[in-house]
C-alpha cells in the first residue's frame, strides 16, 4: 500500500532462514542477516542502490504465495 509520498521500504524475512531481504522504494534489493545493516543500506538511498538489471534471474514478486506471508487474504 502506498502512502502520500509513495516512499515505501520493505524488509521481508525469508522463512526457514535468518536472511532479511530488503526492497527500497527505488526497486533496489539487498540481503542481510542483521536489521541494523539492512536499514543502513536502505537509508543510504540512492548510494549503493543498483536498479535490478533486466532479465537478471527470476523476478521476485511481493504478492502471491511463496512469500513470507503465504496466502494472504489482506483485510483493508
Amino acid at each position: 500500500m502506498t502512502g502520500p509520498t509513495g516512499e515505501i521500504y520493505r524488509v521481508d524475512w525469508l522463512p526457514g532462514t535468518d536472511v532479511l531481504h530488503g526492497t527500497c522504494h527505488c526497486g533496489a534489493e539487498h540481503t542481510a542477516q542483521d536489521p541494523v545493516a539492512m536499514w543502513e543500506w536502505m537509508l543510504a538511498h540512492p548510494e549503493g542502490h543498483e536498479p535490478r538489471a533486466a532479465g537478471q534471474g527470476q523476478h521476485r514478486s511481493r504478492q502471491g504465495n511463496g512469500g513470507v506471508l503465504g496466502s494472504r487474504g489482506k483485510r483493508s
Binding site: I8, R10, G67, G73
Partner: protein
C-alpha cells in the same frame, strides 16, 4: 543515566477517552504540559486548558466548575472555555495577559485527541483513525495504565510482538509467535510502520480460546500498523487452522480483533498506555467483554511491570549502554527512526526535514 526519548511536538496525542471527560475536572500531563480537561455544558464539547492558574500556578484541575467556567480553588481566578480569564478577585480590571493556554481538541473514535505544539498548525484531518473503537460493528473494552518508563520503551515493546511468547506466555503468547518471521513495511511519507506476522498453524492462547470458543490449533495473523507517534493498531485474525478468507474478500469464518494502543508521553520517563480490545464476534456477550477486559488488563500489567523495571535498570547505567538487535527488531528500529525524524520536524515545524 536515564533512558529518555525526546518528544515529538506539533502532533496529536490522546489525552483521555471520551467517557473520561465529563463534568469532573480531569488532570493529565502530555509531553510535560499539564492539562485540565472537562466537558462543556453548553455544547457538550471537550475542553483542554493549561492546568496552571496564571496567578500562583495552582492546578485548575483541583478547583471547581461554575457552569463552563473554571474557578481556581486558591483565589477564585475564573476562566472560560477559551482559557480567557473573566474574573479576578477584588477588582474590576482583569490584566490583559490573564489567560491560560487552550489546546485544540478533536474527539474521534472514543479518543480525546489534543494538539501539543503551535495551535495554528493543528489540522483535525491529520488525526489518525481507529474507527472500530466507536462502531456498531465492533464491541470495545478499554482502559489506561500509566507507566513509569520512557515512551520509547513502550514503542519498542509494541513493535516487536515476539515478546508475547516469553513475557505473556500462557496469556496471549505461544511458542509460534517468536518463531515466525515478520515482514516489515515503512511508509516514510505517512510515518507508518507495518509489521506482519502470519502463523499458519499455531497453538491457540487462552486470550483467544476463551473468547472465541475455538478448541484446537489456529491460523493466527498479526498485522501491526503504527501511526507514529501515538496511534498503534494491531489487526488480529484468528481462525481454526486452514480456514482462510473467501475468494470475494469476505471473511465470515474467522474471528477478528482490533487491539488498539495510544502511546502518549506524559513526562520524562512517564507514558500513558491507553489500551483497547475491539471484537467483531460475541458482540453482545457481557461475559466475553468482562473476560477480555480483565485478561487484557492482566497482559498490560505484565508490560507495565516489565517496563517499569527496565526503565529503572537503564537509569542505573551510569556510562550508557550498548544494544544488540536481531531480525525481530526490524520494525522497532524503523519506528525509532521515524520518531527521531518527527522529533526533529516538530522542533522546527515550519520547515519539514527530509
Amino acid at each position: 543515566m536515564p533512558h529518555l526519548t525526546s518528544f515529538a511536538r506539533n502532533q496529536w496525542y490522546v489525552a483521555a477517552y471520551t467517557y473520561e471527560v465529563g463534568r469532573e475536572l480531569l488532570g493529565r500531563t502530555v509531553l510535560g504540559e499539564p492539562l485540565v480537561l472537562y466537558r462543556s455544558e453548553e455544547d457538550g464539547a471537550a475542553v483542554a486548558l493549561s492546568d496552571r492558574c496564571v496567578h500562583r500556578r495552582f492546578p485548575l484541575s483541583e478547583s471547581r466548575l461554575d457552569g463552563d467556567r473554571i474557578v481556581c480553588g486558591y483565589h477564585g481566578f475564573t476562566y472560560d472555555t477559551t482559557g480567557t480569564c473573566v474574573y479576578v478577585p477584588g477588582q474590576k480590571r482583569i490584566p490583559r495577559t490573564a489567560r491560560v493556554a487552550s489546546y485544540p481538541v478533536v474527539e474521534r473514535d472514543l479518543f480525546v485527541w489534543v494538539w501539543v505544539g503551535d495551535p495554528a498548525l493543528a489540522d483535525p484531518e491529520a488525526v489518525p483513525r481507529a474507527p472500530h473503537m466507536d462502531s456498531p460493528d465492533w464491541t470495545t473494552v478499554s482502559g489506561m495504565e500509566p507507566i513509569d518508563a520512557d515512551y520509547g520503551l513502550l514503542v519498542d515493546n509494541l513493535l516487536d510482538l515476539s515478546h508475547e511468547t516469553y513475557l505473556h506466555g500462557g496469556y496471549i503468547g505461544t511458542p509460534e509467535v517468536a518463531e515466525t518471521p515478520i515482514a516489515t513495511e515503512v511508509d516514510e511519507g505517512a510515518g507508518i510502520v507495518r509489521v506482519s506476522r502470519h502463523m499458519d498453524d499455531a497453538e491457540c492462547p487462552p486470550f483467544y480460546a476463551r473468547s472465541t470458543g475455538i478448541e484446537g490449533r489456529i491460523t493466527r495473523w498479526q498485522d501491526i500498523e503504527y501511526h507514529a507517534p501515538c496511534l498503534y493498531l494491531l489487526h488480529s485474525r484468528i481462525a481454526p487452522t486452514g480456514v482462510l478468507p473467501e475468494a470475494d474478500g469476505s471473511d465470515p469464518n474467522a474471528f477478528h480483533t482490533e487491539i488498539t494502543y495510544a502511546i502518549t508521553p506524559s513526562g520524562d520517563g512517564k507514558v500513558y498506555d491507553f489500551w483497547a480490545v475491539s471484537r467483531d464476534f460475541a458482540r453482545s456477550d457481557d461475559e466475553v467483554s468482562t473476560f477480555l477486559r480483565d485478561f487484557n488488563h492482566t497482559v498490560v500489567m505484565q508490560d507495565v511491570d516489565a517496563l517499569n523495571l527496565l526503565q529503572k535498570t537503564l537509569a542505573s547505567e551510569r556510562t550508557g549502554y550498548q544494544e544488540l538487535s536481531i531480525n525481530i527488531d526490524t520494525g522497532g528500529l524503523a519506528a525509532r527512526r521515524i520518531l527521531a525524524r518527527l522529533v526533529e520536524e516538530g522542533d522546527k515545524p515550519m520547515e519539514k526535514v527530509r
